[in-house]
Every structure is written in structure tokens, then in C-alpha cells.
Amino acid sequence: MVVTLSPSSASPSGLADRFDQAWRSPLESLLGLGSAAGADLVEVFLERTDHLGVLAEQERITSVSPAFGTGAGIRVFLGERDGFVSTNDLSEAGLRRALEQALGMLGLAAPSLATPAPSGFNGLATLRDFGASKAPWLGACPTLAEATTRLLEGTNQLERQGAHLQARRGSYARDWQEVLVAASDGTFARDIRLHQSLGLTVLAADGEHRASAGRRYGSSGRPEHLAQWDVEASAQEVCTSAGTMLYSDYVEACQVPVVLANRFGGVIFHEACGHLLETTQVERGTTPFADQVGELIAHEAVTAIDEGLSEGAFGSLSMDDEGMEPQRTVLIENGVLRRFLSDRAGERRTGHERTGSGRRQSHAFAAASRMRNTYIAAGPHSPAELIASVEKGLYCKAMGGGSVGPTGQFNFAVEEGYLIEDGQLTKSVKGATLIGEAKEVMPRISMCANDLELAAGFCGSVSGSIFVTVGQPHIKVDSITVGGR
């Protein structure tokens, strides 16, 4: 196929406010130019966004922050190398300039308009439009007035249900995104995404005693999420946690068995192990599991899954940011490593087949292999059995954030913790940090309960901050280092 990019036939000008078939011709021209230049693969990612953020503090709305934008990310592969250029300029000239810049990074040059070169590009496939049924979503979301009213209900509920509250906050974010992905392998796909998140946080203070607590709730593809939010239950959960922790003592450093609660407890698996199962880590040589597919890397009680399919979950997708439909990927089955999460680059560089896991925060980031809804599967035990099996240990009811170092060490803050003594929960403790390495801790997850639940979160990594779900049932780790005072 010989292609040209002529201003008259391929100008995308005026198309920035709609991503549809009208983009076929200009995108085919761009992709053809890139292919004719000698690229192995060219991919164009177009994006429109519409964001609303609202913050309520005490009895006031203190911030309303709308934002909208457009942009494109163009990626060119040559062998295992790639060049990536992002731009806010969706004009024909802007996109061509970005393509030429990306080609130039790899030592390639686009053929001139006057002398087009042959290309291996055979045109785009039929548009797969995952967004067709989602057009009403943005209009069905709460109005600004409805959102502010709902958030103030939240901060009022906190006031009613809490004690010694020095600060009360409610936050709401609505992120609408329309994307169009086209690649020189024929990929042509469109989607609309809608993510909403709600949060309540409090700071309780009484003399020298201080405690903060917060919960976040998130969904995808559910315009009615805010309207259906159980404000009272959320406020009660937050206030109970802050009230419990306000007068708690700091935990002493120790090495003990730990029982981690379900839902957001799954953040540890996400951070400490999940990231090591992304092909970006294989590429860097920073995962200890790179050559262990088929080998036992965790306790036989552990089966772990990553998928983009759970309806309404924060990490669910109709297609990934490379136009591939998501899958249910079994990462670990009964302790045995089964698969890595892979994207286009990961497949080219590591040989691991794509799993619909190519994700990015926005057009400004090249996609990378990233998690979606990631969780440890339910086991046969009740949560009470896990706690009863511990003579002296720690129960982590609510986890905070954490991080994983470049050589695999992780650490996580425990927001709400309780001592376990003789199989019973006793006094609450604060200031605990769980410390370890995935390779050492995974074999120590000896019991999984039957109460799997998911929780929404944000994951920041190589391709920016993305919406994810973490999850697990209650699990027991036989021994872990607990940092304290």
C-alpha cells in the first residue's frame, strides 16, 4: 500500500471533539508514513478527557476543579526499541511533527509527501467501537449541584457520628475519557471510560492524641455511583476507625504472624508481588520471578488473579490502551507461577504474550504492562479461624499505602491494627509498618479465608497513575517483620 498525507484529504482539523470513523483516513495516512519509513509498528493513541473534582470540608464546598483536554501519543517500534512522542496538538501538522520526531529517535525518516514510499501497512481494520453504548454516561453523571449536596451529606454524617473531629473532608472525582487507538497492525478501536471515586477522611484530635482515618470508594462505568453511595455506612466506618485509633498505643517492633483483613489488605499483594509479575519488571531485570513460570513461588494456599472484567470494578476495561480486550489472567495457581502481565512492548521484548494489560494514565505516557483488578482468590477458612490460629500476632484491619524498593523490599503502613493474643483480638495499636520481601513472604501466606472483597485504588508506576482494584480474603502470613517504636 502506498500512502500519502495530503492536507486536503487527511486533515484531522475539526475532528478533535469527536473520535469516530472520520479519523480513519488521517490515521491511515500517519500509520502508512510511519511504516513506509521502516518502523516495525506504529501506534497512535488519541484522547479526550473531562474531569471534575469537588472537595467538601466541614460544612463548606471548598474546591470545585473542572478540567478538560485532548492529546495524542504516538509510539514507533523498531526491533525491541521504541520512540514515543506526546502532544496536545491534534492538527494534521502537529500529529505529523510528532510522528517524525518519534521516527527520528529510531534513526528513521518519513518519506516526503511528494515521493511516498511503499509500506507494509494494509490499512485499519473495521472500527471496534466499545464506546458506542456509553455515549450517555457523561450526561447521566451527577450534576455539580447534586455532587456538592451529596458530599456535604457526607461531611455532615461524619460530624454526627464522630467525636473529637478536628477536620472532616469529603471528596469526589469524576474522570471521563474517550480514546481512539490505531496501529499499523490494523488495530482500530474506540472506547469511553468513566471512573468515579468518593472519599471520606477525618482527623480526630484530643490533647496530644491524634488519629486520622479515611476510606475511598470507586467504580467504573456506573454513572449512578454517587447517588447510590451509602453515606451513613461510610461515615460510620471512618469515624469508628478514627475513634478506635485515637487513644491507641504505638506498636513495638516485632517479628510475628499477621492476619491481614480483606478488601484493601490486597494492596500488599499488588505492590509486593503484582508489580513483579509485570513484563516491565522482566525487561528491567528487577523481578526475582523472571525465570520461574511453572515453579512454586508462593504457598500452595495462594491463587492470584488479575483481570479487567469484573463489572463496575475500578480496574475494569472494555479494552486496554493498546486496543486489546482484557482477559482473566491467572498469575499464580496453588502457589505456582503461571503468567506475567504483558503489553505490546513486553511481548516484543520478553516474549510473554499480551494479556490486555497495556495501560497508561493519559496520552502523555507510553502504555506499559500494568495491573487491573488484582486479587488473591478466596480460600476455605473463615476469618475467625485465621485469627484463632495465632497465639501472638497482629491483625491489620485497615492498610495504608506502601512502596516496593528496586530490589523487591516492601513496606506498608497499617492504619488500623490490633494485637492478637491467644487467638483473640485485644487492644488496638498504631504506627505499625509491615516490612519484607515478596520472595520471602509469598511462601508464608498459609491460610486464605472465604471472604474475598475488592477495593478501589490508584496505582502509580512507569506509565503514570491508573485506576485499579486490589483485593483478597482475610489471609494469614506466618511471620513478618513489624516496624514500630
Binding site: V54, L55, V64, P66, G401, T407, A413, E437
Partner: protein, 457 residues
Amino acid sequence: MDKLDAPALRSRIETFAQAQAIGRWDLGAASSNDSSVQVDRGEAKQMKAAQRSSITVRVWNGDGLVGITSTSDLSDSGLQKALAGAQDASAFGNPDDCPAFSPLATAPLQVLEQPLHEPRGILELLTSLKDAERQLLDRHPALTTVPYNGLAERSSERLYLNSDGACRQQQLTTASVYLYARAEQAGRKPRSAGAVRLAYGASDLDLAGCITEAADRTIAHLDYAPIPTGHYTCVFSPEAFLDLIGAFSSLFNARAVLDGVSLSSRSSLGQSLAVPFLSIADNGLHPGNIGASNFDGEGTPTRRLSLVEGGVLENFLHSEATARAFKVAPTGHAGLGAKVSVGPDWFEIGATPGAAGAALGLDRLAASSQGGAGLVLIDSLSALHAGVKASQGSFSLPFDGWLLQGGETRSIEAATVAGDIRSLLMAIVGFEGEAKVTPDGLCPHVWVEGLSITGEA
């Protein structure tokens, strides 16, 4: 990079604002061009470039309430939509805390010495980084890869305009390099450390210094051992102490004070916060602050501000609105928003001139040879986003460092340091060595006694 055309932007905004009956507005605009490369064992791993532009407009409605909208669409329709969005949002403006134009938005600015560099181009960056990677790997046989690396250059411009005629504009070029090496030895855990350098242009980057520091730090962690859990006197590197103070900067933040989420309160001014020989200032204009801005998001000039002197809290960082609430002048630390954020620029930390009480001439190597539990040198802190509870004062942070004991220095396998920032500031023993210029500020090594270290339980 084409210069942002401030008069043309003002003209367009004025026209669109007038059409929407908006009489009072201000805006912040920014544009940038970035190029960056990463390498992996002699090959280009990823090369990236980005062109970004954005604008944030604020409008005041007839009731004096403020609304805001941001966009990356700088077309006429984009600007019109942004103004309309801000107008809609202003209906929900907070009447109790309404921003105004900074009274200093037209005050003279200090001229900064910031030479503008022509970009070297991404292929030259690639060549330099490949060479740097090779040199780093050649430093020691245990250095196997440099998994995290990057060389970047950026040209950027920012602009502040308001309907009263204020106009601030700044052009800047910067470059950065980071090299994080991984070392592996048979039967031992991999170790990693790195270094960062900033400059106004890629040709000015201290690549040799970055390579040497990354190599020395990584190699110094090869011989590691666990540290017994306990309480230790700790020596914070300048970078680590600056990170810690930065994580607790809500102590000095008037916005956080007004919101009730700071450990400080209005009455904290004039009160003792730290040992009587500690000084902390914020000085975004320090020549060591690569990429400094001479005005903040509201157009207020940046300036040096003493925060703690002789251990006593002297001032808070302010925006226009918080300054008005405290009946002081804005300090040049604001962002731009409906609720304006406040943040520090660049810290200067050290001994208060003439103050008594600080141990002088501290020398960790000499002290470690005197026996006892030893000293812990905290080289770098991690996971500050998760391990710091700024509103509670507590922290529990993993760190890289060394145990200095019996005249020997040994890398610590894995450990966390925990404590309370108020207690820490009162437990400073003294300072060691000259203050060092870092990307986050100026600071010497800081000795603190009695900190809890969790290592091997």
C-alpha cells in the same frame, strides 16, 4: 521553543471574558518541550518527547465568588469553554475563603541567573547516557545493570496574567540525569543505590559526579548485615533530613493551619518547635535551586522566608488568601486554584548563628570507634508518601544506610526508622560537616539521638 505570546493571550481572554460578562479573571499558563532517554545494557530502551501546553483560568462572579477550570486546549473554543466552566464553578465558590489578586502581583521581581540552553537533541542524549551507563558498570564487577536511569532536557515557559494588568513570564531550560545501579553477588541479595544531578542544560550536567556517586553508594551497600532492632543515635544525610522536613512541611503551611490539619496552630508562632540552635528557612531564590521560579502561582514574588530561628517558629508560608487571614503579606508560596494550595520551595537548614547548645565538630567515624551500640547513618529515606502521617506527626520509613560501630562501617540490610517529628526536632544533637546543596535544599549532616530502628527483631 516558541515564546508564549502574553499580549495575544491577554487579548483573546479579554475578548472571550467580555462576551461572557466576566469582569475579573486571572490565569496561569504553561508550555513545555521535553525529551528523555533510557538505556538498558548499551541499547536504547525508550526515547520520549512531549509537547505540553495548559492553562488554568479563574473568574470572579457577580457575588465575588471564584470558579476555576483547567484545559490543555488552547484553541479559541477551548478558552471559551474554560471560561464558561469557571463561571459555572464559581456558583459553588466558598464565601468564607475567597481568593483575591495578590497585592504583590505587580511588585518587582528578583532577576535570576538562569542561562537558557539550546536542546542537544535526543540522539546526543542517548549517546551520553549509553556512555554513562557503560562507565558506571565498569566501576565494579558486582554492578550488573542500571535498571533505573534517565537523561532528560526540558524547555518550558510559564505565565501569570490578571485582569488588573499583572503579567509575569518566565522561560527556563533544565536538564537532569539519574542513575540507579543494581549490584549482585552470588548468594547475596541484590543491592541498589543511585544518584541524581540537575543543571540548566544537558551540557552542564555533572555526569562524572553522578556516575561516581551512584557507583560508590551502590558498592558501599554490598557488604551488608541486619541491624538489631533498638534505639540509636542517627546521622541523617542532608538529602534524608531535607526529605523528612519536606514531608512535614505542613508545620509551616498556613493553609494547613487554617484547615486544621497541621501540627501547628495560629498560636504556634513564637513558640519553641525545635532545639534552640536549629534554623530553617525557605529560599526558592537560592542559586543552588535549579529551575527556581521568581514568582508563585498568584504572581507574588518568591523570597527568602525564615521559618524557624533559634528553634522558635517564626513564620508560615502563605498564599494571598492565607496571608489576608493572618494579616500579613503573601510570601510567594501559592499555587493557583479555587482553594489555593501553599507549599515550600527550597529549604535552608543549619545552625542558628551564635546559638549555644549544638554539639560542634561532630565526626561520625571518630564517634563510632568509641564503642557502644554504634551510630546509624541514614543515607536516604523511602516511601515518604505512605510512611509519614503529617497531621499526626508520626513517621515510619524504610531507609538505606550504614551502621558505624567499633570503627567499622557496614551497610544495613533492611530497616525502618520511626518516630515523631516534634520529638525528633527536640532531639537534634548537632550538625556535622558543611551544608550541602541538594535538589531540595541546603543542609549539613544532622545528628538525632534516640530514634527507633526496626531491623532484625
